[in-house]
């Protein structure tokens, strides 16, 4: 070690950094980390894509904040200005909106791929649970960001979302009142959603994301059971650095290119300014990632026995969420029956999600 330090003392900038950050040790550590190579390895890239998209969201979000005004009379106009009156404003705003949609799609794919690869099993329960909370944080980002342009659809989407939250027994009315900043959606709601969107949620996401990645480092990358049961000699691994890392970068570039193509060919528009006293326009629908619960809640009758239909529907959706929370403790890998039940549950939820979303989009 003393010899190493001596060696790098005359090595310019790299020597300077080596002396202070022990880069060689870090590189050795990254080289030691191995990634399993098998037919499902492709799913390992999704977490990385989510991370790069999040960085794009932060950068474009910071740029949008320069011109966006979180004030009821000016919010819509400021987005119009960004879209048409500021150089490249349309580009950064579209990048933020498209990026959000792709990010949620990638995070959902990441969640379901880890679910079906049974990566939630011990000792990775905490990795799975932090991932679930991160999913909720991403949806909260989508929900709060949706209101900020203050157009008709965003107004009603927020109204419905908060009403749903209000139906939660005991804490629902308090949470709804705090979120709205009063009894009706207005200036207070914009201010609160803005703070939640640009300050509170980023802090939560960074902290939880850091924890999530830390857990991955602690336990290593999960191996599917088929791969795990193979002979040691037959198992193939690649080094995280540089092999997987450079492939990861290639995938990031591809993802960013897909985003740029969408942004350029289909720039994100804005609807008419919200009028809190006008009727909800015909054909109003939420963003695609809320379409499934939207369509599901349409079907629930007004009353299910003694329970209000809305509460009953939310209870059912809550049970699905609870299923995801409890799955690592139910399917620990020791029982084939339990493993099968977990898989059937996942398939049912995925099919329900796709089915209700398509139905909602078409109806």
């Amino acid at each position: 070690m003393v010899g190493d330090t001596q060696k790098h003392k005359s090595g310019g900038l790299m020597g300077f950094l080596e002396e202070r950050l022990s880069l060689t040790e870090l590189r050795h550590l990254a080289e030691k980390k191995k990634v399993p190579v098998h037919s499902q390895s492709v799913w390992y890239y999704l977490g990385g894509i989510a991370a790069i998209l999040f960085m794009i969201m932060v950068s474009s979000g910071v740029l949008l904040m320069v011109y966006y005004v979180p004030e009821i009379q000016a919010a819509h106009a400021s987005i119009l200005k960004i879209n048409s009156g500021v150089d490249f404003g349309w580009f950064f705003r579209s990048m933020h909106s498209w990026g959000a949609n792709i990010l949620i799609m990638v995070v959902m794919a990441h969640l379901f791929s880890t679910f079906f690869m049974k990566a939630y099993r011990g000792p990775r329960e905490l990795t799975w649970l932090t991932g679930l909370v991160l999913m909720v944080v991403c949806l909260a980002f989508g929900f709060t960001g949706y209101l900020l342009p203050w157009d008709t659809v965003s107004f009603f989407a927020t109204k419905i979302g908060i009403e749903v939250a209000e139906k939660t027994p005991l804490i629902g009315p308090i949470v709804a009142h705090l979120l709205r900043g009063g009894d009706a959606i207005g200036q207070s709601t914009i201010s609160r959603f803005f703070v939640i969107h640009v300050a509170l949620l980023p802090i939560c996401l960074l902290a939880l994301g850091g924890l999530h990645v830390f857990f991955v480092q602690v336990h290593g990358i999960s191996e599917p059971s088929k791969f795990k049961l193979q002979d040691e000699a037959k198992k193939m691994y690649e080094k995280f650095f540089p092999d997987f890392f450079f492939k990861d970068i290639l995938v990031w570039i591809l993802a960013v290119n897909v985003l740029f193509v969408l942004v350029t060919l289909m720039p994100w528009g804005i609807g008419p300014e919200a009028d809190p006293f006008a009727a909800a326009p015909a054909g109003i629908k939420p963003e695609w990632y809320f379409l499934a619960p939207f369509q599901f809640l349409k079907l629930v009758p007004p009353m299910v026995g003694p329970i209000e239909g809305e509460l009953f529907g939310m209870g059912l959706l809550g049970l699905v969420g609870l299923g995801f929370v409890l799955v690592p403790f139910f399917d620990t890998g020791k029982s084939k029956t339990r493993s099968m039940i977990a898989t059937i549950f996942g398939v049912a939820v995925l099919l329900g999600l796709i089915g209700f979303s398509v139905w909602g989009a078409l109806s």
Partner: protein
Amino acid sequence: MENNSAKDDKDKETGSAPAIDEACNSCEGSGKCNGGFGEEGRFTRAEFVRTAVGGVAVLWGGMTLYPVYSYLNPKGQSDKATKVESVEVCKSTEMPKGTGRNFRFGSTPAVLIHTADGQFHAFKAICTHLGCTVQFRDDKQLIWCACHGGTYDPASGKNIAGPPPKPLTPLKVAVVDDKVVVSA
């Protein structure tokens, strides 16, 4: 850890009693730990301090959170400012039979309907399902919510189809000097 055992050994040698915290550490792994309680199950000083620190932390947390909650909890002054008793919506001749229109009633959206039988009816236009703003549909002669497809009877406001669980809140309507006046 090594230091602790070395010190324990030293204590044995010198015959002096270890301090309370050291006594807790020394029973690690021996299976005889009594959770910091004294021999007769009494509070030790360490246990008392741990409980006190925890209690103070909870109190301090509550004292901090209450002002934050109060700060974030709006007092609803804006509602008082926009509260109205009655609103003059339009002239009765401006609305043909079988039509409706949305209007603002204080801080609430409302809907006025002129039904085919010549009567005027008004309701708060807030869907009882999830709070969307309803409208009167000329083609169906029904009050309809675009969000989840709930429908209401235009004369009574009763929920007749879709997910709404309750009727719309009715408002009073009077035609005074050819003007349609809606009141709470």
